[in-house]
Amino acid sequence: MSTYALSDSWTMTRRELAHWARQPAQVLVGLVFPVMLLLMFGYLIGGGRGVQGDYVDFLVPGMFALTMVFGLEGTMLAVTQDLNKGVIDRFRSMPMADGAVLVGRSAADMLQSAVGLAVLMGTGYALGWRVHGTFGAFMGAVGLLLLLRFAMLWIGILLAMVAGKPEMVQAVQILIWPVGFLSNALATPESMPGWLGTAVEWNPLSQTATAVRDLFGAPGAEAGHVWAAVVWPLALLAVFFPLAVRRFGALDE
């Protein structure tokens, strides 16, 4: 780490923010998409298979968690695009701090996810979703959601470097959807066939969704999943963060 690690990372974060300012439409689409999903599941498909109590209290926190997981696609697309651009060669031939490119990416993505989450919460509120727990629990839930996003972010960075080409992102996009829906974000595992239910319960996304429902004080929420919602993302980070950083440094072999 050089003495410039912080300022270089900040410069790279500013770069991403400048991209937003240049392409507000793209940012808007990124924010609107999860809102559309929420409205679709809330009004069109809704019903909530196997859900006790009000579906909105079940669905909205589930959608928060699902959105955090789908954020992986955005990260992956951005990193593949960056790696295929000449600009990355300039960054790497400059005396800048080693991790600054990745740190800038992750800071910007986290910021976008936080904004996205706020927008989604506003939409949820409009649909009738309410927080019944304490403010501390609410902040804890937000923290768990962003932690999941952070873990997905580093998986996205690594996958982007392994895939290499933007076309490969499509393949991953197709794969991420079943992972997203094989969870309890939209329906309870009890409503599914046995083996599927087991897979769903093991999905880290399910752990986070259950934990935040609990922390938001959703009526009928299952307690005791907070530890899993902390441990799962941390475990993923412990694997993917070092792999991603190493892979980025090793591009020059």
Partner: protein
């Protein structure tokens, strides 16, 4: 004073192909050195090794007095890189790009801003500083890319095929910029497939083929390698080419014939004397010539002479084979 670039026995292997096969090179400070070679000769690999983007498989390379592997950061402080593809953030404006790079070179926010304005002015981009780079023309993009390579006034700058894909105007713009660099004492390593470019810009030229330097020298020295001046004879009637070859006072074996252009070409060892002999022989035989001229060999001829081995597919070292 040591050389600005020292390359000794550098190898780089991709799969079972040697991109660099024990390449040696020395570039004096403040000079322009062209690395000339066909596609796939290893030019880009060499630039990537020297600009710390690629780790050499074997051998040693120093840039501005620092080893590219063990002291990469020191090298990065002293170099500028203009790659084959624009190394710019396409979404951002020209000024935003230069400011960002200035910050990453640790100039400080204010100095980075001032420097960006200076460079935009110098490269005639001041009016377009706000426009996103993706809307730039090819020539503008190259100039901005070059400006970005010059933010810290580097000791050594690498230009990897800087004019490939540019129209003649864009090419002229880049040439002008390169010439202005030389005045400032910067060492320039330039790769190119265009002989004219090497001829125009470089003090010395290294011809590279299959990952090795096959010839090294000034443009004149390289031209001398193919053996002195040549004489070109263009006939009015292409049907007389065969007869002309037989009657001209030239070494028969060395005459090359281009039927489409009705052209005979051969070494003219005695220059004017050869010319006079050829004109007389043609007149005596009643063969009408459209043009007869003496000329220096072109770098194209040198290039082809040096880079096309007898067996380009599987080069065999005759010495080794004898053993």
């Amino acid at each position: 004073m040591t050389d600005a670039i020292v390359v000794e026995g550098v190898r780089k292997r991709y799969g079972d192909k040697d991109a660099l096969d024990g390449l040696d090179l020395r570039v004096g400070r403040g000079t322009v050195h062209a690395v000339l070679g066909p596609n796939g000769a290893g030019k880009t690999t060499l630039v990537r090794v020297l600009s710390t983007l690629l780790r050499p498989g074997a051998g040693r390379a120093e840039v501005a007095g620092h080893d590219v592997v063990t002291r990469a950061r020191e090298v990065r402080r002293r170099i500028g890189l203009l790659g084959q593809h624009a190394a710019l953030d396409e979404e951002l404006g020209g000024r935003q790009n230069l400011e960002m790079f200035g910050r990453l070179y640790h100039l400080g926010a204010r100095h980075a801003r001032v420097r960006a304005d200076e460079l935009l002015e110098r490269f005639g981009l001041a009016d377009t500083g706000r426009k996103a780079v993706k809307r730039y023309s090819g020539g503008m993009r190259r100039r901005l890319d070059l400006a970005a390579s010059l933010i810290t006034e580097p000791e050594v700058i690498f230009l990897d095929e800087p004019t490939t894909g540019l129209d003649p105007r864009g090419r002229a713009e880049v040439w002008k910029a390169v010439r202005s660099l030389v005045g400032g004492g910067t060492t320039v390593l330039l790769t190119t497939q265009y002989l004219e470019e090497a001829d125009q810009l470089a003090h010395r030229i290294s011809v590279v083929d299959r990952g090795r330097v096959v010839a090294d020298g000034t443009a004149d020295e390289l031209k001398a390698l193919t053996g002195g001046d040549r004489i070109d004879v263009v006939l009015r009637d292409g049907g007389q080419l065969g007869a002309a070859v037989a009657l001209l006072p030239l070494a028969q074996a060395e005459i090359s014939v281009d039927v489409d252009r009705r052209l005979l070409s051969a070494p003219a060892a005695d220059r004017v004397k050869t010319l006079a002999g050829v004109v007389r022989a043609l007149e005596d035989a009643g063969v009408e010539a459209e043009d007869v001229a003496l000329r220096r060999p072109t770098l194209d001829e040198v290039f082809l002479h040096l880079t096309t081995g007898d067996d380009p597919v599987d080069p065999v070292d005759p010495v080794k084979e004898a053993v």
